[in-house]
Amino acid sequence: MFLGYVLGRYKPAERAIPMRADDIFLVSFFKSGNTWTRFLLGNLLNPGRPVTFESIERTSPDIYQFQYRDYGRLASPRIIKSHECFDPRYRRVIYIVRDPRDVAVSLYHFLRKIGTIDDTFPLATYASEWFLRGKGSGRTWREHVGSWLLNPRNFPEVAGLEPASRCTGDGLKLDELGACGHGRQFLLLRYEDLLSNPGASLARMSKFLNLDVSAEQISYAVEQSSASRMRGLEQKDRDQWFMTKHTRKDINFVREARAEQWRTALPRESVAKIESQWGRTMQLLGYGLAEHSVEDAVRSECPLPKTTGHIGFS
C-alpha cells in the first residue's frame, strides 16, 4: 500500500483528487442515469471509437476507481463521473436528477446485484428503512439533490425553511434550480427528459460544453448509447468492468431504462412515505405526487411553486 502511494498507484479518497479548473463533472445520486450520460458524451466526443464498459473508465473516469497517477495523464478538459454531494471545487457541473421513487426501485435491484441485500429482502422494507435513511448509499437522495440545487435565488424553497414556499410572486421556476451562482457553470438534466428526448438533452450538453457538433453526430451518439446496445455491451464486458465483475450475473446493471417504473413496482405505502418526506423537493423538480400527503396542508396555506412537469429551459 505504501509503495503504491509513493508511486501514485492508489485510488484517492473521493474528494482527494487533484482538480483542474476546466474539469467537467457528471454528478448524480446513484442509479440516476450517470452511466448512460457517460456513454452519450463519450460517443459524441469519440465518434470513431464507440464507448464500451471496458473503455468507459478512460473516457470519463469514475472518481472512486481511477488511480491518482492516471488522473494527471488525462488531457483537459477531463470528464469525471461523481456521486459526491456538493463540492465547491466542481466548477463545471452536469447534474442529473431522477424521480426518487424510480431511484428507490433501481437502487434496490442494484443492491441485490452486488449482494448487499438478498432476494428475500422486501422492496417495501428497503424503501422505508434503507432508502429514506440513506442506508446502503451513504447519503439520501434529498441530501444529494438539496446540496446541489440550492442557490441564492431559490433560497429558502430548497432549504426547506418555513414558510418554504413563496407567498407572493409567481413561484419558483425550474430553471432557477442548481448551484449555478458563484461563477459555477451548472446544467441540470432530468433523467426523464433524457429518456423522452435523448437527442435534445445531448444537444443541451453540447451547447453547455461549447462543442461544435452536428445533428448527425448527436444521432449517432444516441444510437450508440441505446439501452439495448448497452445491455449487449454489458454482457460482453461484465467480467472486466469493476462495477459488474464480482456481482450477480442474473441481474443486469442496465435494466429497463424507463420512467415511472415505481407505479407498478413500488408498494403504495412506500410511495406515500417517500412523497411525505421529500414531496416538496420532488414538486420543485416537476415530479407530481401520487399520494396526497402533508403537501396538501402546505398548499392550502401558501401555494407551492408552480411546476410544468418539464424543466423549463428554452
Binding site: 505504501f2 502511494y5 509513493v6 501514485g8 484517492p12 479518497a13 473521493e14 474528494r15 482527494a16 487533484p18 479548473a21 454531494c85 456538493f86 463540492d87 465547491p88 471545487r89 466548477r91 440513506g134 451513504g138 447519503r139 434529498r142 441530501e143 444529494h144 438539496g146 446540496s147 446541489w148 440545487l149 440550492l150 442557490n151 441564492p152 435565488r153 433560497f155 429558502p156 430548497v158 432549504a159 426547506g160 425553511l161 418555513e162 414558510p163 414556499s165 413563496r166 407567498c167 407572493t168 410572486g169 448551484a179 451562482g181 458563484h182 461563477g183 459555477r184 421529500w278 416538496r280 423537493t281 401558501c302
Partner: protein
C-alpha cells in the same frame, strides 16, 4: 520532489501523525459543530466543551482533545478519543456527518471583519492589504478552498509547517470551506428539511441570549443539561475563554467601508435577508420576515 513529499506523508501516516482533515473516519454517533471561518467557532467549541464537562474547563491546551477540529488533530488523535465525539469543522456539507450537526451562522459582513483582523494578527499576509482589497480579492472569491486563503488566515499553516503536512496540502486535500454563501447554502440545502440532524444557530442570537441558545443546542444534541449547568457553562466560558469573548455583532458598521459592504450584500443579499441580516423593506417578499421569525425564534 513530489515523490519525496509522498514518502514523507507515508512515514507520517505510518506514525499516525498526519492531520485528519475532512476525510477522517467518522462514526455514526459523532456529533458536529460547523461554522464558517470567522464565525465564532472557537467560542462555540468552548461553550459546548464546558457544558459537557463543567468540572474540567476547556483551555487552549486541551481543546484538541475535548472538541477537536479537523485541521489540527491527527488521525491517530481522533481514533483515541472516547465516543461519542464532538467534532468541529469549517467544512461545506459533508454527507459522512451522519449524526446531528449544529451549524453556526454569522452576518457575513462581520465575518469579513473578523477574518481580516485575524489575518493581520497572524501576520500571514502583507499588512498593506486593505480590507476592501481583502473583501474583493479573497472573501467573496469562490474558487478558493482549503489550502488557499481560508487556511492561511486561520493560522493552520503556521502551526502545521513541515514537509509532511505540505505533501497533503499540495497534492491532497484537507477540506473545503469555500465561500460564506456556498458554505451556508450547502448545509441548508442538504439538511434544511431535516430538523433532527441540523440545527442552525445565529451567532447574533448566541451572543444576545447564550443561555437560551445553549439550551436549544443541549436539547438537540441530547445532552440533557439543567438550566443551572447551562448557566454555569456560560459563566465559566466567559471567565476562562480560550480566546477573547466574541465581538459584539455589528462591528462591520464601523470597520467595513461602504464599497465592501455593497460587494458582500450584492453577492449574498438574498441569503442575508432570510437570516435577518438585512431589513425587510416594503419591496421584499413577505416570506423573508416569516422565515426569520419561524426559524430563528431566539432573536
Amino acid at each position: 520532489m513530489s515523490m519525496l513529499l509522498r514518502i514523507g506523508y507515508v512515514l507520517n501516516y505510518a506514525l499516525g501523525l498526519d492531520i485528519a482533515g475532512r476525510t477522517v473516519a467518522k462514526f455514526p454517533d459523532d456529533e458536529f459543530l460547523v461554522a464558517y471561518p470567522g464565525s465564532g467557532g472557537p467560542w462555540l467549541r468552548g461553550l459546548i466543551g464546558n457544558l459537557m464537562d463543567p468540572e474540567h474547563l476547556v483551555t487552549s491546551a486541551n481543546i484538541l482533545q475535548r472538541v477537536p477540529d479537523l485541521y489540527h488533530q491527527s488521525r491517530h488523535g481522533f481514533r483515541r478519543m472516547a465516543r461519542p465525539r464532538v467534532i468541529f469543522s469549517h467544512e461545506c456539507y459533508d454527507a459522512d456527518c451522519h449524526g446531528p450537526v449544529v451549524y453556526l451562522v454569522r452576518d457575513p459582513r462581520d465575518v469579513a471583519v473578523s477574518i481580516y483582523q485575524q489575518r493581520r494578527g497572524g501576520a500571514t499576509h502583507a499588512d498593506s492589504q486593505t480590507i476592501e482589497h481583502f473583501v474583493s480579492t479573497d472573501f467573496t472569491r469562490t474558487d478558493q478552498y482549503q489550502g488557499g486563503w481560508a487556511e492561511d488566515f486561520s493560522g493552520v499553516i503556521k502551526q502545521n509547517h513541515g514537509f509532511v503536512y505540505l505533501s497533503r496540502l499540495r497534492e491532497e486535500f484537507l477540506g473545503t470551506p469555500a465561500c460564506w454563501g456556498e458554505n451556508v447554502m450547502s448545509w441548508l440545502g442538504a439538511r434544511g428539511e431535516d430538523p433532527e440532524r441540523l440545527l442552525t444557530v445565529r451567532y447574533e442570537d448566541l451572543f444576545a441570549h447564550p443561555e437560551d441558545v445553549l439550551e436549544r443546542i443541549s436539547e438537540f444534541l441530547g445532552l440533557r443539561s439543567s438550566v443551572e449547568k447551562i448557566r454555569a457553562a456560560v459563566q465559566v466560558s466567559r471567565e476562562c475563554a480560550t480566546a477573547e469573548w466574541p465581538q459584539r455583532p455589528g462591528k462591520w458598521e464601523t470597520d467595513l467601508p461602504a464599497s465592501a459592504v455593497d460587494e458582500i450584500e450584492s453577492a449574498w443579499g438574498q441569503l442575508m435577508l432570510f437570516f435577518g441580516y438585512l431589513p425587510v423593506g416594503p419591496g421584499h417578499d413577505c416570506e423573508a420576515q416569516k422565515c426569520v421569525e419561524n426559524n430563528f425564534p431566539g432573536r
